[in-house]
């Protein structure tokens, strides 16, 4: 059953599921998971779309008709061309151009790069921070744990968008600042997820055994405990990438995100917004479609990963 909980609900959900006995690091497990994953057609479609999007954004400098950040390549005479019209240079703008004469296809490819990059970076950093905090809290326990979890709860009780807005209002614009803001609002999800599974794993025999061997504490926590808390973390992180993309695009749309010179998808949409009412739909619509397609693709993959990595559901 596809039963995606919203991201907020996913954390405890995934955390409650007891992962299987200590991860068999063998290849067979990976192969089995891959096989299970591929059995869902929608997940495969999602994965293919996602891979294409990542490849397309990585290869943007080579495959895009123009470099939208290079002002010398832009011709203001090309502005607001409808999809299919020709630029002054002769190339066809299949998706039209924006108010500065940027080819939308190129802008989308470059924008995707920024959107995906920001989201991936933020997710990786946030999950590392969150997972470390979560696993340590679970391992140490006691007051440290309850204090950390209080902070997590408090953080999660406020809408991410508001916290991010305020942070960016304080920091100012910039790609690094957007990433920082996303990390600040997202780490708590991972901390909660990992703590949940670490609490379960902590009581298992292999941790007991590792402790009996008098291995150093950090080694027990990071080499033994943490890897076994990864499956739910991966699931949450996947869905959170989509969430981070949506959040970044929203922030950029509101004008507090990435700088104007390097527009992400959200900012392209914001630019087009001004022209929407005069019927120039393409500037907003196409970046929006790209955004939506990527988000849906990630969700499909995340949904399937959840089924695959959740031993409670897999038979």
């Amino acid at each position: 059953m596809s039963d995606i909980a919203p991201a907020t609900d996913l954390a405890p959900e995934a955390a409650r599921a007891a992962p299987p006995a200590p991860l068999d690091r063998g290849e067979s497990l990976l192969r089995r998971h891959a096989a299970t994953f591929l059995r869902s057609p929608s997940a495969v479609v999602g994965l293919v779309v996602l891979v294409l999007a990542v490849l397309g954004s990585l290869a943007a400098p080579w495959i895009a008709p123009q470099n939208p950040y290079d002002l010398t390549q832009l011709d203001i005479m090309d502005n607001m061309l409808a999809p299919g019209e020709r630029l002054a240079g002769g190339t066809v703008a299949y998706l039209g151009t924006d108010n500065q004469g940027r080819d939308m296809l190129s802008a989308i490819l470059y924008g995707l790069r920024i959107s995906l990059g920001v989201a991936a970076a933020a997710t990786i950093i946030a999950s590392i921070v969150g997972a470390s905090v979560g696993v340590l809290a679970a391992y140490v326990g006691g007051r440290v744990e309850s204090f950390v979890m209080r902070v997590v709860d408090l953080q999660l009780s406020f809408p991410a968008i508001l916290v991010a807005l305020v942070l960016l209002a304080v920091f100012g614009r910039g790609i690094d600042k957007v990433i920082l803001a996303l990390v600040v609002v997202k780490w708590a999800y991972y901390a909660r997820t990992v703590r949940g599974s670490a609490l379960v794993e902590k009581r298992r025999e292999y941790i007991e055994a590792a402790r009996c061997l008098a291995l150093p504490r950090w080694r027990v926590v990071f080499r033994h405990l943490l890897p076994n808390c990864l499956p739910p973390l991966i699931v949450v992180a996947t869905v959170q990438v989509a969430n981070a993309i949506a959040l970044e695009s929203t922030l950029s749309f509101l004008g507090v995100g990435v700088p104007v010179t390097e527009p992400s998808l959200g900012m392209l949409i914001a630019t087009g917004y001004q022209y929407l009412l005069s019927g120039k739909y393409w500037i907003s619509t196409f970046p929006g479609v790209a955004l939506v397609v990527v988000i849906v693709a990630i969700n499909l993959v995340g949904d399937r990963l959840r089924d695959v990595l959740n031993p409670r559901l897999s038979k």
């Binding site: 039963d3 809408p159 508001l162 305020v166 695009s249 509101l254 917004y273 939506v292």
Partner: protein, 325 residues
């Protein structure tokens, strides 16, 4: 009940206090407001004068004390842009946002509960599955984009509804509201739907899960054995049980609706406090930002309190156990 209320109230006050500290630290302690306030050409003396006037030369704890003292008296600073007390500027916009959130909430219930219940009654059917897939879209798609598409469809193409702004207000029971004029409602529909979709998706999921669970209960079988009509079983027995999780979720989400209104109001150029926040951030009108945050925290806390009380009203079991404790 009274003990419970007092306990909840003190918890709420604690949260407000903690948030006040955080907001103070985040907004006041980072950066120097003088940079924004002072004329860029101002010399050292002028800057010092401003610093002294704002009390920025005093130690942090003292500034904090002043901030809290003023806040307790309802003074959260003066807006640079509007040259008026920040609280007043926000309060002026509050009704518009509340109206939007309220209508949005109603929409999300009207959309979410019927769909969720339907999907829960027939989880394996094609429409049950379609509803659930649709709900995934509902909360994974960026809200502002949905708003834009609605504008494109209903305002630009079909020309049915206005694309932006708030309709004329009328005075009802002393409140100026746009909910009771046709023009006002027309202006509300698109932003409220946009705001509602995310919550509706959430309500669908909660309602679906709740319905599925309730339908398996013995009391539903007993109700059927009594010969009750499906309408009564679903409308009374299922709905009332299912409302418990739904109210909890919706209540907790009402606060985030006010936060999400920031986005929706920007898309629809709707003159509420969310748009004010964005404008203030862009204009660096710091007192407004602080005042907005403090007021939002208070609204959040109040909402959570109300939800808890509502919860007690729906579930007799909660009512009783709290009366005892």
């Amino acid at each position: 009940m009274l003990v419970y209320l007092i306990r909840r109230l003190s918890q709420s006050l604690l949260v407000v206090a903690v948030m006040a500290t955080l907001v103070f630290l985040a907004v006041y302690a980072v950066g120097n407001p003088v940079d924004i306030l002072a004329n860029p050409d101002a010399d050292q003396q002028e800057r010092a004068a401003i610093t002294a006037r704002l009390g920025l030369d005093r130690p942090l704890y003292e500034q904090f004390g002043v901030f809290i003292w003023n806040a307790l008296h309802g003074d959260l600073g003066r807006s640079f842009v509007y040259n008026a007390p920040a609280v007043d500027v926000i309060l002026e916009r509050l009704p518009a946002t509340m109206e939007l959130a309220l209508v949005g909430l109603v929409f999300s219930i009207l959309i979410g509960i019927p769909l969720g219940v339907l999907a829960g009654l027939k989880p394996e059917s094609w429409f049950g599955r379609t509803i659930m897939s649709g709900s995934i879209l509902g909360f994974s798609l960026p809200n502002f984009w949905i708003g834009l598409m609605l504008i494109l469809l209903f305002a630009v193409e079909l020309k049915l509804l206005p694309a932006s702004g708030r309709g004329p207000t009328a005075s009802v029971l002393g409140f100026k509201t746009a909910m009771f004029t046709w023009e006002g409602l027309k202006h509300l529909i698109l932003p409220a739907v946009t705001l509602a979709l995310y919550k509706a998706a959430l309500v669908v999921r909660v309602a679906q899960a709740g319905t599925r669970e309730v339908m398996l209960q013995d009391y539903i079988r007993f109700a059927r054995a009594k010969g009750l009509s499906p309408l009564r079983i679903v409308g009374v027995h299922v709905l009332k049980n299912m409302m418990i999780p739904v109210v909890t979720v919706l209540g907790l989400e009402l606060g985030s609706m006010i936060a999400f209104a920031v986005v929706t109001e920007s898309v629809f150029a709707y003159p509420g406090m969310g748009k004010l926040l964005i404008d203030s951030i862009n204009r660096l009108d710091r007192p407004i930002i602080v005042a907005y945050l403090m007021m939002t925290v208070v609204i959040f806390v109040v909402i959570n309190l109300v939800v808890d009380l509502l919860y007690a009203a729906i579930d007799p079991r909660v009512r009783l156990s709290d009366a005892k404790g």
